[in-house]
Symmetry: D2
Subunit: 390 residues, 4 copies
């Protein structure tokens, strides 16, 4: 019975994520949080031996601990349909996303992919084409979009509770780069600071794209042009570690996106403020269970993540797992991207058509916008902050 | 090989938790968060039919979806040792904990039990005896003790960073009782307001015991006596919904524990402040990733949950899953109680002796203290706030 | 013309306040903030020489820089009516308030007096009698009642916006006592720690009475009984430096007042929370420009001090000097007690009757309640926390 | 004796400030807060009749309630030296500052002037010349520089506690423009929205210049170039009400200044963040008694306004009037600009030379920088956000 089949746990194959970073474990925890998925296969390192060992340490059966993503795809394809993976999660360096995602899509697997989606516009176009040619789900883990109150913000704006939007400001500040000794390989993965592999976007790709996505996700605005100026303050790399992008949007609104990895002592301080003609809102990732809404002459209103409150909108309620006051945080937000993608995967398994345009999880279009954002910021900086048409 | 055997996922049997409340799902999510356990059996309702249906809906195989906790214990005992559950999680009404826990311990299973441990001192003594006679782990889900910064607070005090302790204040405020229509059965489970089943402790048992445990867990202080006065403001029950307990501790310190379920608009506002001769600290559950430490003439210090910071103490680091700034919250704290209990369960599986006195997870002694706290608060209130010796 | 006469700046005589403490300067700044008064005379120390020098240093003409409060009263009485002081401000040790205030009232001067009003019930009764026999204004500087949002809280409750009151919690925490070397005289004035002069109330009188007054001012509740327990942690005095008082009020509400001067690093942390059947509120002195109101299922509402907001009630608006967002603080709140007292002084000067019962500034009745509060707390502590009828 | 003469209260003449706005009263309250000055003369409106009436209502003697600033200057000059005003405070529309200030300086009076100093570079140059030719004090009320913790921030940076500065972000958000009905004259003074009088800077002059000055005051950085883009969202004027300026500084640092008067519900939300190679700091005007300092791997440090704390630097301590925890706010900060200017006025009265370059109060150079900032922002916006050299 189709319904029964689509209710079973989905089978996950993890590609990358077996190294010293934390993002691989985040993918696994987020994917399995609701016990809708189980990790059954992996090619978790580009080093074949390390890949096998690390996969087994993650609880993957030795026969499905693969030495490369190619082996994973080929071997899984060789398994019976009802025993092969349903989807891959890609947690590899950014420049490898395109090849892996396209291969997985071509093999008929669903794909959950780390952000930024890739590092060039041509790669992004290739991925759009691959998704369009497939019948598969493609979800991009712009995980901050999974917070219940980010969704409340989005839905409030969609309901016109803020009126016409005037201005949006998003800031993403970290400070950990100050801890990087110029003589040691940064723990974040050497590829990240290597332009030959990761392209010329440093913090822009790491955190700037998250801030830009949050702007798009919450406001629904499309840029018409932008200018950017980036700095590279660190002595041990040549990539940006601080930058601003000034945006203009098609409906007359203004935007400013700021990113930094040299703001001493900031941990993961992503925040957004939106000004409209009827009200303004503010949200901050490090205190994600509150959303602040202000209107002239009225008390400041703080919406709490509280599925039982009448003010909580449907997309907010759907994103909650706990009653109000029992804080939910990073894992649960990340898991919401997975959960929404799983809903579409189950639709696909049932043979239904999926409509990624209406999906809450970020997809290939959002990914392409992120790549475009990076390219235009780089181009503008190279042109001494000249405007770039979107 | 023992080591290998003890590394496998532990097998969980859930007792209770299949109803409208959220605590059953919390147990499952917390237990499986790190993929150290899997839910394989359940007797999740006192209604046999509902128990079976709800268990299957939770993903339990129909043959292990039991109609009663007795059936669960007997049937699991009948399975081969390497295919039976390792532990039960008890999420049933408080007055049933003793019978279930004792039966499970007697059958050789480990036990994770909701708080309060039980409702009478004699029950508590029976449970202590049962644990002592067993070689099993008994963990009580005073889940707030699982927050990394609660453990930081405990360890700071143990290291004498606050000096001699003078005073501690713990408050636990909720407001949801205002939403209870006098004519409808409260959604929290009718047994909670029925003195014949749950005893005479209302909010005292629900939230007061959590606040008291937090005091004990963080400060390590033992009460010498207490006085208490409780109120019952709600028109639809006769149990306390607001109360204070004034405590004196054996080393001269003073304590105040306050609990409320009638503080309008408060969601789950548990907080604690500790004053010592060298410094004071403050922590609040709804913003759990920060711990505030103050000392005269020094800047206020805010410790963040950050496993990479040198200031993070070993028990804090061990309780983290994510880098700083990626907030962790309720599920992760709950899961830390499980994770620590699992460590001891694996020790027991390997045949090692477990030392519950040194364990970070709350055990049967903490549970008995909580029961005593409730009994003395009730006795003091009945005696118009007269002191009761501990 | 009377109206004209009553519009002139009022003439202030300062008694006490010329020493190392800051409260004398606060009185002068607060009284003159709106240029409704000018400091023209003073007997600012109990040491005659120091009194004269300190007064001149404060800008008082040498001929009105008196050696004692008796000389001040006699000499000012000897001046023509239109050139003598209108009021005295008493900033002397608490045990001297009665004698000075009664003498000043008898001489026909208005009185603004520091809190606590005095240290014994008999003194308080004498002061009540003296005020009643006079036609003068008596204002007690429970200055925290002057904050605009404290008045908003009071008015919201008077309008029944919180419904029936259930519980109130007030905390006043300071930590400066940790800085007192046991071998040196504390800078706060030796009389404060001397039971022979200041009575047996230490921190209770310093800060506890402020917290108790705030409870009364905001809620309008009258206690029916209380119990208290106080501690004396400091090695260099025998007075209380930490205490709790549990209160019951005549309309069924419960209260807890907590005071401390040994909470490390707390500066002047007075806060209050009130729970009602319709809503709850919270205010904190160190961030006085915001008042938090919560109600089940609604967003948290933060009222800002903003005289232009429609939500600001008349007594709030009247207490503001600046638009919202331009923070007002301690001096302005203190000045509001003076400003309200001045309004009544001008009425008296115009020959009108003053109705102190309806005045917003605290008067002799509030002062007597504060003295009673202290006496009952001391009696209860001596009786090991036994209830004392109000 | 000179010392005695210079200790007397300084005599203040107020020009402008008698209308519906609040800034005139702020000048008087701030100037007289410490009783170092008294208001003795005024020409408080451009309407002669209203000027006289409003001045008398402010307590000015009728014979010194002038009809125009010219009359004030001429009449005061005609009084004996020891009975004429010492200084004028200019609270008139910005385009009139130059004429009034130059006339006052030429007459030998000290000048305290509202910001922005004037509206054209040529005016600014004329004022610089007039100040240089005089022996008088010229102070500009960039009042936010008077906050004790703003001075702590400045001194921390001067001491190199932040290391080399990398980036600074200042934001000044208000929302009151949403309250302006397009059909009514805004209450803030019609001249403000009239380009013929006030120039083309709207919110840029109102609040943007404050934010820019705060950047300069705290960091000591000098811009090398800037680009800006401004918006005009309001239907009832053509001036900017929202804008960004991106700055580059001579030592390699980057800056972003953002201003808005259309951010719904924001009252007066000025904030600044500075990132250095050793630490970062953050301060917010609406909670001015705390300064946040962060450094990688260390607890967040919150400095409180506390003159008794060892961490408080000399310029901070000198700017405090109250112990920590007794909040100081807008009036006191404003008064600190006056108090520092008074110190220099007294020096001048004693015949000493004053060194405005080392003064903490903003002077004519800061004023000229503010005018240049406005002009370059306007020029850049006109050139579609092209860089402008400083």
């Amino acid at each position: 019975m189709m319904a029964q089949e689509s209710d079973r746990p989905l089978r996950m194959g993890l590609i990358g994520g077996g190294g010293t970073g934390f993002i691989g474990k985040v993918h696994v925890t987020a994917a399995t949080l609701d016990r809708q998925a189980e990790l059954v296969a992996g090619a978790v390192s580009s080093n074949p031996d390390r890949a096998r060992k690390a996969a087994v340490a993650m609880g993957i059966a030795p026969e499905r601990a693969y030495r490369s993503f190619r082996e994973l795809i080929d071997s899984e394809m060789a398994r019976p349909v009802d025993d092969r993976i349903d989807f891959v999660s890609i947690a590899t360096p950014n420049h490898t996303h395109r090849e892996i995602a396209c291969a997985a899509l071509e093999a008929g697997f669903h794909v959950v992919c780390d952000k930024p989606m890739t590092i060039s516009v041509s790669d992004a176009e290739a991925m759009i084409a691959a998704v369009n040619e497939s019948r598969s789900v493609f979800a991009l883990t712009h995980n901050y979009s999974g917070y219940p109150l980010v969704r409340q913000a989005r839905e409030l704006i969609a309901m016109n509770e803020l009126g016409d939007l005037l201005a949006v400001r998003a800031n993403y500040a970290q400070g950990w780069m100050h801890g990087m000794d110029p003589h040691e390989t940064p723990t974040r993965g050497a590829w990240k600071s290597d332009p030959n592999r990761n392209g010329r976007a440093g913090s822009l790709g790491d955190v700037g794209t998250h801030a830009f996505h949050l702007v798009q996700f919450i406001t629904g605005l499309t840029p018409s042009r932008l200018l950017s100026y980036m700095n590279s303050y660190s002595p041990h790399h040549e990539l940006d570690d601080y930058g601003h992008a000034m945006l203009q949007f098609d409906r007359g609104a203004t935007g400013m996106v700021t990113w930094s990895q040299v703001s001493h002592g900031r941990l993961n301080d992503l925040s957004i403020e939106v000004d409209g003609t009827k009200a303004s809102l503010a949200w901050r990732q490090e205190q994600p269970n509150q959303l602040v809404v202000r209107a002239l002459g009225q008390p400041i209103k703080i919406y709490e993540r509280n599925p039982n409150a009448a003010y909580s909108l449907p997309s907010t309620v759907a994103a909650c797992r706990l009653p109000g006051g029992h804080p939910e945080a990073f894992f649960e937000a990340f898991a919401n991207v997975y959960r929404d993608a799983f809903t579409d995967m189950r639709r696909a398994i049932r043979g239904e058509t999926i409509d990624s345009a209406s999906a809450l999880y970020p997809g290939v279009a959002a990914g392409a916008d992120g790549v475009r954002f990076m390219q235009l910021c780089l181009a503008s900086t190279n042109a001494d902050a000249a405007w770039q048409s979107w």
